[in-house]
């Protein structure tokens, strides 16, 4: 069930109606759990059983870790939980990749037999809900989280449908207190409903969802064709054409994924839940590490808290360890996106950028306080250099063919200054180019003005409806004809 489909709008509308009109509060709690399971079943059929397995396993393991009297028993249950999560994720997502690599190796050493591929269907959302579940048991193991008292509560946290299939990845420490507050209100007062839909939340949620639809259906879907034109066969193209392709893909990916996140956060807000931001104007990042505080924040903070910090925590003064830990962390980030070499290369390049930047900061600790970097020109230069590096990595994110990737990267770095072919591409793709320029202007305004969704949602009703009308009119005029899948659904 795509967010940008009529199916979802009907589904969400029915849920809101039932929650608003039926007064059985306990029923609301269960109703949302079963609605979430139905949401995944409708999208992914019988693979919803994996979500149910993940919920049951982590709920039980989390409780056992917390109640364990001995460290050994605590560790055993912790390892069972990790093996369970990584095992299921690894089996469905990486088995065929490993088999194909073994087959390549077999061909090199002249083995005449091949291991057949399993051709497993990738369960939608598995990378997201597995990481969410893992953070739950790790936090309990570290002693910073009390486990859910009831299966209902835990199932609600993992299966909650807005962020279920493409994030943001929730943290139990942030989400469960909100849920517990609603449940305790439910127990104390007979007058309160469990899920109260307030006007403020409704207006903010609808605004954010509209912005999400606008990003996805107006920008991403209409910019996509130029990316396919340039990236599907880049051999022979000029440097500037490759650059237009990378910029277009960066914008397409951002609008697609942050659009999904906005819809998810908006839908959750209408139901009364606050989910943290997943993107924060990433194209104004002024360093590689700044970029990762602005792009896919829920995943980058997950990797930081559960992989990078444990790796460097005890020996954080060792430059070598910090360097290697950053590379490992970013390789994990890359492979998380998919079982493919291009994602590993993408993660590796980011790791290298971060590691070099970190070492430079260690060598020159006062450089950031330098007058130049504090000046406007210094800041703009930092942003431009950072974005040049970040957009370079998008080539690896898109291209699976090594020859294509190597050619595009070479052209991106070693400029040929030819323009004839690029002008032709621009002429053939006027709409995507105009949309890219419009996006950059709006991204700049959003960077300067702060939280645009909140500002719009606080406008008087006639201004508010006018802006939303412009969003949906733009979508309708430039609608590409069918609901396009979100890029992050494949992860």
């Amino acid at each position: 069930m795509l967010f940008n489909s009529l199916d979802f709008l009907v589904f969400f509308f029915v849920i809101l109606c039932i929650i608003s009109f039926f007064k059985f509060r306990r029923f609301q709690h269960l109703f949302l759990i079963f609605s979430s399971l139905f949401f995944l079943y409708y999208t992914d059929n019988y693979l919803v059983t994996l979500l149910i397995f993940t919920i049951l396993l982590h709920f039980y393991v989390g409780r056992e870790i917390y109640n364990s009297q001995t460290i050994i028993r605590k560790k055993i249950f912790f390892v069972i939980g990790l093996i369970g999560s990584i095992g299921v994720l690894g089996f469905f997502k990486y088995t065929d990749f490993v088999i194909s690599q073994l087959n390549v190796f077999g061909t090199i050493i002249d083995l005449n037999s091949e291991i057949p591929l399993l051709n497993l269907a990738l369960p939608i959302g598995i990378s997201f809900y597995t990481f969410q579940s893992m953070s739950y048991i790790i936090d309990i193991y570290r002693g910073s989280l009390k486990p859910s008292k009831t299966l209902k509560e835990y199932a609600f946290f993992v299966a909650f449908f807005p962020p279920l299939v493409a994030g943001p990845i929730l943290r139990a420490s942030e989400f469960l207190p909100q849920l517990r507050e609603k449940i305790s209100q439910n127990e104390v007062s007979q007058k309160l409903k469990l899920f109260v839909i307030t006007n403020t939340n409704l207006k903010f949620g609808i605004t954010l969802m509209s912005i999400g639809f606008f990003k996805k259906m107006f920008f991403s879907d209409n910019i996509g064709p130029i990316v396919n034109n340039i990236f599907s066969n880049p051999l022979g193209l000029e440097s500037f054409s490759i650059m237009i392709g990378t910029i277009a893909f960066g914008i397409q990916l951002y609008c697609d994924f942050s659009g999904y996140s906005d819809i998810a956060i908006g839908a959750a807000a209408i139901l009364g839940f606050k989910i943290p931001l997943n993107f924060n104007k990433p194209f104004f990042a002024s360093s590689p590490s700044d970029f990762w505080t602005r792009w896919h924040i829920s995943l980058s903070t997950w990797v930081r808290d559960y992989l990078y910090y444990p790796l460097v925590f005890k020996n954080r003064k060792s430059e070598g360890l910090v360097f290697i830990s950053l590379i490992i962390s970013m390789l994990l980030m890359g492979i998380w996106h998919g079982a493919s070499w291009n994602f590993l290369i993408w993660g590796g390049i980011h790791g290298l950028f971060l590691a070099c930047y970190t070492i430079l900061r260690k060598k020159f600790p006062t450089a950031s306080s330098n007058k130049f970097f504090k000046s406007k020109i210094g800041k703009i230069s930092s942003i431009l250099v950072t974005q040049y590096l970040i957009f370079f990595t998008f080539i690896a994110f898109w291209m699976k063919d090594f020859d294509h990737m190597a050619y595009a990267m070479k052209k991106y770095v070693l400029l040929d200054f030819s323009t004839a072919g690029t002008i032709e591409i621009i002429r053939d793709n006027e709409l995507p180019i105009l949309l890219m320029i419009l996006f950059m202007i709006l991204h700049f305004i959003s960077y300067k003005k702060g939280n645009i969704a909140e500002r719009i949602s606080k406008l008087k009703i006639h201004y508010w409806t006018s802006i939303l009308f412009i969003f949906f009119l733009s979508i309708a005029i430039f609608y590409v004809g069918s609901a396009r899948e979100f890029i992050y659904f494949q992860f």
Binding site: G143, Y309, F313
Partner: protein
């Protein structure tokens, strides 16, 4: 040694002490990333002669969280 957490935070992130309050955190201090976050841990540990656990580090979202964890280590902080 100082008992002023705000001064340490301001020094690590190269900002004015008046810009630091209990709500300050990675969301509103631009230079608060994983690198500077670990420098802040070093500064706090050296200053207050304590050792944070990894769960305390990952739990910190704001300056108020830092103060809460310092109090758990029996450190009295200047509010």
């Amino acid at each position: 040694m100082t008992d002023n957490v705000h001064a340490i935070v301001a020094k690590v992130f190269s900002i004015s002490e008046t810009d630091v309050n209990d709500e300050s955190g990675p969301e509103n201090i631009e230079s608060w990333d994983s690198f500077n976050g670990l420098i802040l841990v070093d500064e706090l540990e050296n200053n207050f002669k304590i050792k944070f656990s990894i769960s305390e580090i990952t739990d910190v979202k704001t300056v108020a969280d830092i103060k809460r964890h310092l109090k758990n280590h029996n450190v009295s902080v200047n509010e």
